[in-house]
């Protein structure tokens, strides 16, 4: 009533006749603010996407070449007397090397590739691991002695780099491991089909190799190490984390003590992971005398790191179960424990599993604590024999192996480090996709 009488006095005469479709200055301002905000949001996402694409591009462009490897096909006659002589010497592989050298020289003559190089120099196109490959084959296939076996020996890292475009003739000017003359030979051998690039299964399933033969290094053993560590983390942190959160959320009285515990759990989630490494070193290795570099110890350390994440996500998903479910269960005569385990926990399970998988993914990519418990170096060189060894024998983990490769001098290891990142990312992506699927399919909303 007062409005009608006040309206003509307070507003301009035209305001009454203004259409709803015509915006007043205040609305315009609000709309502009909203439009600006949307632009900010899009720009923010754009920047994020740009960096994601740049990151993926650099990872893929540097790492994809690690999945291809150059090899040299040679037919080596396995002669009983030569093998006996080799097995008697101190450094047995050096005799096997001579056998390979003879075959290589012969093969080149057959192929019509002329060279003035001595056989020792010529051998630089092959991996230093070739004699070991030959010897392993002879020892595991004694029945083939007396016949001629065909081998795909790995080419040396520089030959491999040449075929991948990483090494050029100019770059070899001062290199003592390979010369431009070798590359001329390689060009001819490639033409004859003796030197070929193939998919590098050894990179995915093989073991680490020393600095002198990067072409032989693979991430397989450290993948096994990561697997055993994740088993330890899962088996320990899931029950402990879930039990702790059920107690805290459903049973514990709300008092100063539980508040204190709650604050500390949140604090622990923010503690830098290296701190857990120091703790693991002193508690598990120096005090409990668990073996060094063992995946078990790595798993225990990562468990400590993952627990807070799991507890926090479990409590959140328990909290999101509506109280009416609990009340209904209690109302029909269930005990507190029955109401929790029969009704609340099953409903909270998808959330708990999602939290656990995300916690595991975080643990899988963690390197810092592993540095302190001796998992970086030349560790992942042999596959563990059996499950028991898998937990206790020294091993590395994927991120630790990547870190180690990135440190090594030969640029071929650098390529492998990027390749390792691709494999690690694939694992992380699978885990995160599983977490999303679990959440989408099983989560109930109220």
């Amino acid at each position: 009533m007062t409005d009608t009488s006040l309206a003509p006095a307070s507003s301009t005469p035209g305001s009454r006749s203004r259409s709803l479709l015509e915006l007043d200055p205040h609305t315009k301002k609000r709309n502009a603010a909203e439009a600006r905000f949307r632009v900010y949001g899009i720009v923010a996402i754009g920047i994020g996407l740009f960096f994601l694409v740049a990151l993926l591009y650099s990872i893929l462009s540097n790492g994809l070449t690690a999945f291809y490897q150059t090899s040299v096909t040679l037919e080596v006659p396995l002669v009983q007397t030569e093998i006996d002589a080799a097995e008697k010497s101190v450094v047995k592989t050096s005799k096997y090397r001579d056998m390979i050298a003879a075959v290589l020289v012969q093969k080149m003559e057959q192929a019509g590739v002329a060279t003035s190089m001595k056989s020792k120099e010529l051998l630089q196109i092959l991996s230093a691991g070739a004699p070991g490959t030959l010897r392993d084959h002879v020892l595991s296939h004694p029945e083939q002695i007396g016949t001629t076996a065909t081998f795909d020996f790995l080419a040396s890292s520089r030959v491999d780099g040449y075929l991948k475009g990483r090494v050029t003739r100019a770059a070899l000017a001062e290199d003592k491991n390979l010369s431009a003359a070798h590359l001329d030979i390689i060009d001819q051998l490639v033409e004859k089909g003796i030197v070929e690039k193939g998919f590098n299964w050894n990179f995915i399933f093989g073991s680490d190799a020393s600095d002198s033969r990067p072409e032989q290094a693979g991430i397989g053993v450290s993948m096994i190490g990561s697997l055993f560590m994740m088993l330890v983390v899962l088996v320990l942190s899931l029950p402990i984390g879930v039990a702790a959160s059920i107690y805290l959320e459903e049973f514990a009285p709300k008092n100063r003590w539980t508040d204190l515990i709650e604050v500390n759990i949140s604090n622990l989630a923010a503690v830098p992971s290296i701190v857990f490494g120091i703790l693991g070193l002193s508690a598990f290795i120096q005090f409990a005398h668990l073996p060094q570099s063992a995946p078990l110890v790595g798993g225990l350390v990562l468990t400590l790191m993952t627990l807070p994440t799991i507890i926090i996500s479990t409590r959140a998903s328990l909290k999101s179960v509506p109280p009416s479910i609990r009340d209904a269960a209690l109302g029909i005569g269930a005990s507190k424990m029955q109401s929790v385990f029969h009704h609340v926990l099953p409903l909270a399970m998808p959330g708990i599993l999602t939290g656990t998988i995300i916690g595991l993914a975080q643990a899988l990519g963690e390197t810092a604590p592993l540095l302190l418990i001796g998992m970086v170096g030349f560790i992942a060189s042999e596959f563990p024999d059996g499950v028991f060894d898998g937990f206790l024998a020294p091993n590395s983990a994927m991120p630790a192996q990547i870190y180690e490769w990135a440190k090594r001098a030969d640029p071929a290891f650098y390529e492998r480090a990027w390749g390792g990142i691709i494999i690690l990312l694939v694992f992380l992506m699978i885990m995160n996709i599983v977490a999303i699927i679990l959440r989408r399919r099983f989560e109930r909303r109220w």
Binding site: V90, V91, K92, T93, S94, G132, R135, V167, A170, A171, L172, A173, E174, D175, K176, N177, A209, S210, D211, S212, R213, V232, V235, P239, I240, V242, A243, I285, Q286, A288, H289, L290, P291, Q292, S293, L296, L300, F341, L345, L371, G374, M375, V376, G377, F378, I379, S381, E382, F391, L392, A393, P394, E404, A406, K407, R408, A409, D410, P411, Y414
Partner: protein, 345 residues
Amino acid sequence: MKFKTLVSVAALAAAATAVAGSAQARDQIQVAGSSTVLPYASIVAEAFGENTDFPTPVVESGGSSAGLKKFCEGVGENTIDVANASRKIKDKEIAACAEAGVKDIIEVRIGYDGIVFASQKDGPAFTAFTPSDWFNALGAKVLKDGQLVDNPNATWADANGELPAVEISAFIPGTKHGTREVFEEKVLKAGCEETGALKAMVDGGMSEKDAEKACMAVRTDGKSVDIDGDYTETLARIDANKNGVGVFGLAFYENNTDKLKVATMSGVTPSTATIASGEYPVSRPLYFYVKKAHIGVIPGLKEYAQFFVSDELAGSEGPLAQYGLVSDPELAATQAAVEAEETLK
């Protein structure tokens, strides 16, 4: 149902931990220490696993000091067997070892490591250095017109007229590296003496010891950058900075000759030959230390030590020399000492 699974999972976990507590006898040699020795030790470990019936030894990195500290933790399967070091063990460390029960230590010198000075392949012509150049470029206090002053040199040409006139930007190993010690000792201190700064300091009333310390102090105005990471980090810095000059190990340089150009030191080009003959001034011996008490307990330990210093590996034609180790001219004496299990002192 769910509860039962949880309980059984927890029981399994407890069992796993209990099993681990009673760790079985270790049959794998464990080595830790210097990251400079790591490549050589891993080449040997790989060949050892390949050529013998023993499992491949495990070689951890972490630095000489950390390795020796671990080595001196005590005797027993839970401690490491071999420590790699890019410097000699200190008396303090020997005492710490003895206190923990590690009394008999076998010292094995495997060869020498050269330290080289390199810059971007296509960068300015840093081709010849002397210790004096480095001291004049990096020293905290240098001699200028007969006066000791805070380092005023902004370009390498200020330090030595024959060097390129580009801004000084040097990447040197951080203080936690064993390489830094050698750099200070053989380059900065030598340069300090050559330029006469040491004499000026002593004349100025400093004690000999303080003056030497002052000689090894590096300027802190950002022209010299400490690299605490590995040589790969130094390489990345040089890659990004045309005028950068870095300190590398010989083996690292030889693996990256496509990106780096090495400079001579006092007119000598670094190579395994010039280092072995002692002509090239900046080098240091590399060692590994073996716990004698573990020989006979850990299978293959003595064989590993013998294998390491055998002519086939550590000799001048072996894979270690191929990778960049300067083989020891007195290798035969080392082999005999390992054979006899000669301990320190």
